[in-house]
Point group: C2
Chain length 231, copies 2
């Protein structure tokens, strides 16, 4: 039975992360607190170091988990829609992000909020970080195949053209520069809106922020995929 200790270890590791998530939900991501976690586990604070080498290590694990959860939510939402319906796919993915963010605001802010002071994200976070974005890129790809044109045609600056070329090579995307820029803009607007809603920026201004987000997403979909001819 080589697995007993290993299984207990895995369970405790998961429990530490779960408690950390719960505490972040109460005090904000910046207030991740090893001693408080240990207290809640009924352990002495130094015991945490058997599971994570440092506070930053735990933070990294939480960030990676969050990126993966968001990415998975996006992938699942995308997979549930007819692959040719690019607008529907965009909306499904946008709402999946919004729903996930509303359910787990602290985890969303851990990824897209003000960076935790003193924390520098290591390499391990890069791949999971792109997971959600890749879903959007695949939708852009299909849209390009259908000859989609943004409602307002952007002029893509030269420097950005190079960046887009690199992204295309990395991801195998076939979207042209204009669609890429419009898509990137929509991505930013989407996450900007989610962040503002979570941070209460619309408090005392807009009552039904959910309804507003729905309309924001529709606007964005219309702007990116203005002319589309599904096969």
């Amino acid at each position: 039975m080589t697995g007993v200790r290993a299984r207990v270890r895995a369970e405790l590791t998961a429990e530490i992360k779960a408690i950390a998530r719960r505490q972040m939900a109460e005090d904000g991501p910046a207030n991740l607190n090893l001693r408080a976690i240990a207290r809640e586990l009924g352990m002495v604070s130094s015991a945490i170091y058997r599971y994570f080498a440092s506070r930053d290590d735990l933070l990294t694990a939480l960030i990676v988990d969050a990126y993966n959860a968001l990415g998975e939510a996006g992938e699942a939402a995308d997979a549930a829609v007819d692959p040719h319906e690019v607008r529907a796919r965009f909306l499904a993915v946008a709402h999946a992000a919004y729903r996930w963010a509303c359910e787990k605001p602290s985890q969303y802010l851990l990824l897209f909020g003000t960076p935790v002071p003193g924390y520098a994200a290591p390499q391990d976070t890069i791949v999971p970080a792109t997971r959600f974005t890749l879903v959007l890129l695949r939708i852009l790809d299909e849209a390009a195949r259908q000859g989609a044109v943004p409602a307002v045609r952007p002029t893509v600056p030269d420097g950005v053209r190079d960046d887009f070329r690199a992204m295309r090579e990395l991801t195998g995307s076939g979207a042209d520069d204009e669609l890429m820029l419009a898509g990137m803009q929509s991505w930013t607007a989407l996450f900007g809106a989610i962040g503002f809603i979570l941070n209460g920026q619309f408090r005392n201004v807009i009552g039904d922020v959910d309804a507003m987000f729905v309309e924001f997403a529709r606007l964005l979909a219309g702007q990116v995929f203005h002319e589309v001819d599904p096969a």
Copy 2:
């Protein structure tokens, strides 16, 4: 000379805020630190309490100042453009916000980043907070007068219609619901983009973020003020 003590007091109050801003620029807005400020002033930490009743009071003063500075930057940029040229006005204001944010990232994040944990903004911040937004609303107003129509026509949810009506009454704006919603979306997208750029969300993805922002702003202007007939 009743004013000597008062003037010294005003100067020291300003100096405290200046040091606080400088330290926030280094350690992030959440790490505002009364003792460090006192140390830098060569005072004992309790002396700060002659000028601000608490850490939260100092934070509030900084937030109010920042909102006013951003608002002023927006107003100045708007005033420098022909009032009938709504697109040019929008672009001028957008770039003013971007420039201000790049020059004072910590102050921008103080306003639009993740809220400082444990801090609740008091009433005093409400009026300054709307100052920049009012500039955008006045542009929308002029655009409405010129019969502007968004590139993608939004459907405005009922609940949001009520909120817009209240905003119109408060601000005397004459923009219709569709324009309001498109404007609000552009506002969110603008600030979302700025926040993401400041937080380094595009690091290793886009090299020339300045150029990208310029194009984002143009896209947004085109989306909100699609059909405009200047008088």
